[in-house]
Symmetry: C2
Subunit: 347 residues, 2 copies
């Protein structure tokens, strides 16, 4: 146990420290066998999808993303190998991504039109389809942890706004100063977005629309857990809620089938119940995970005008990472111990 | 057009006036043919499900419910027969139910723990899977109308709280004094619920948990629209959001399959993506509407511990009204012109 904690701490410090990434392999896509366990464990994560082009990322930033994705997926996988429960791994992995300013969740959250950060998250356990979600919280450092407490300690699935924060307080979860979430580059993005908005009301670029983190894990007990967390949409108004806290749209898990976490233009994911639809196709039509995910992204989401992606795994430890955008920050280690880490479009 | 408006006005006045129900047939379940059109039109509504037992309703209150359900379903059906679009019929039907103090939506909304009324609603068009939803609005007379405006005039699907009200203002939708929603019997229910809560924190009766209105309509163009509206859960806290505004859980429509509106213990409807799952079973497994609805309510929702019901119709005008509670306020006129109006458990 102590060994696990030390490992986790090292991973976390590394993930938060971009200076220590110089030794990273420069290949965008890595694929090598880590370890194959029986029963299989598997884990898959994303850090958002969008117009992520190689020419937009400096070499050092690209390395930083790859390093963080690699560190997190490796630590998460090792925890599963050591017998950690999927629910704990998903919470720790997403918390680490929330704590990184690289991703639009937690510390890296984008700003609303009012110049504040509003965070959404959800988590679901495939064992009993229990779920917890929060929307529009402003002073909770790790929304995924609050979503978990909603799942475990309330009669509700979905709490929002000040009410969700009151619930957090009632459960002894500390509030933090919302100033914690301030990241200059995110604030600059708000100012740019507002400048554009003065010309036209619908000029958000894809980069500004997208941004989410997510994780799905399968543990040695055969339990599948999925979670998603986001800082929402730059310059968002009117108390908009996207797909991340919506069970069925942004997150779903069922031990008999698999688990999904989505990222992208949330409205289209809600309208097409993307996360659940992937699993429904597997269950009712007996198609495999990769095919189900591709059908939903390319034959349903895309024709409706939606952009984004999903990471998912099935009960046998197969993983799929499917998106129709230029890129998606992603990593996986499947049930055969095959690791993949990537940013740009698949070949 | 004028004729339609006059008809609607008469229906509305009748629906709001319990004194004019003396001529109502006393049979609980009515089934007679209204009219069969080609292409078929169909409509189905619910006014909530729960522990609705004959011994709990006075004769006059039972008649009042049956009269209102009958009036609304007949007016909605006539509008469809006259060529009105499904989206307009659903909005008018749900608005009429919101305006009635009989149902937990709009005027009849239950009170939150804070002694206020927070309203949720959603609407979805099966033609293009466009959708709009609002949660936790406090000064909008007809939340279903705001959900419709979100669908038609915003880039978003789901707006919440004060932000949703700001959006309403930006669209010229008038705010009303929240005192409009005050209904003594609902306030008394809050006081009773709080009294119980002081003894145990989980003592809400089913009657207090449930309460929603919904409508699904199929028009002459083959367009299917579904909508749902609720005043939430008596004594609710922490900004809880139930299934009514969740696309996939409380509401779904797809012209190629059918449409669903749900009512019941929202958390279980969210966790099991009830509305979409019914349609997914029809699409992917080719089961009929009634079977799909029964599978989801009795084989999925109930084993998970959930209670409630759904009203739904398919693209051919078949309707189904399925629930696992003692009763569900409901009415339908299917594609063959068969009318059903009921309150208690099906025989």
């Amino acid at each position: 146990m102590m060994r696990f904690l030390v490992f986790w701490l090292v991973m976390f410090i590394m993930a938060c420290n971009p200076q220590s990434n110089e030794t990273l392999d420069r290949e965008e896509e890595e694929a090598h066998i880590i370890k194959k366990s029986d029963p299989p464990v598997a884990i898959v994560i994303h850090g958002g999808a969008g117009t992520i082009l190689k020419e937009h990322l400096s070499d050092s930033l690209e390395k930083r993303y790859l390093f963080v994705l690699d560190s997190i997926i490796s630590a998460g996988h090792q925890a599963l190998e050591e017998g950690e429960e999927a629910v704990n791994v998903v919470i720790k992995v997403i918390s680490a991504m929330e704590d990184s300013p690289l991703f639009n969740a937690g510390k890296g959250a984008v700003f609303t039109n009012d110049g504040i950060n509003e965070l959404d998250a959800s988590i679901m356990k495939g064992k009993d389809r229990s779920a917890g979600a929060v929307a529009r919280v402003k002073s909770i450092k790790n929304p995924i942890q609050l979503a978990h407490v909603v799942m475990e300690r309330s009669n509700h699935v979905f709490l929002s706004g000040d009410g969700a924060e009151q619930f957090a307080k009632s459960q002894g979860i500390e509030k933090i100063d919302p100033a914690y979430f301030f990241v200059q580059s995110r604030y600059d993005a708000l100012l740019r977005s507002k400048e554009k908005s003065s010309v036209s009301s619908v000029t958000l670029s894809e980069d500004e629309k997208f941004g989410t983190v997510g994780c799905v894990a399968l543990d040695k007990n055969g339990d599948i857990v999925a979670g998603t967390s986001t800082g929402g949409m730059t310059n968002k108004r009117f108390g908009r809620i996207g797909d991340s806290p919506i069970i069925g749209a942004g997150t779903y898990a069922d031990n008999q089938i698999g688990g999904v976490s989505a990222t992208g233009w949330g409205e289209f994911f809600i309208r097409n119940v993307v996360a659940y639809d992937i699993l429904a196709r597997m269950l009712y039509r007996n198609v495999d995970l990769e095919q189900a995910a591709r059908e939903v992204i390319f034959n349903v989401l895309e024709p409706h005008g939606g952009d984004g992606g999903v990471v998912c795994l099935d009960k046998d430890g197969n993983v799929a990472m499917v998106f129709n955008t230029a890129g998606m920050y992603r990593a996986a280690i499947d049930g055969n111990g095959i690791k993949q880490v990537g940013i740009y479009e698949m070949d």
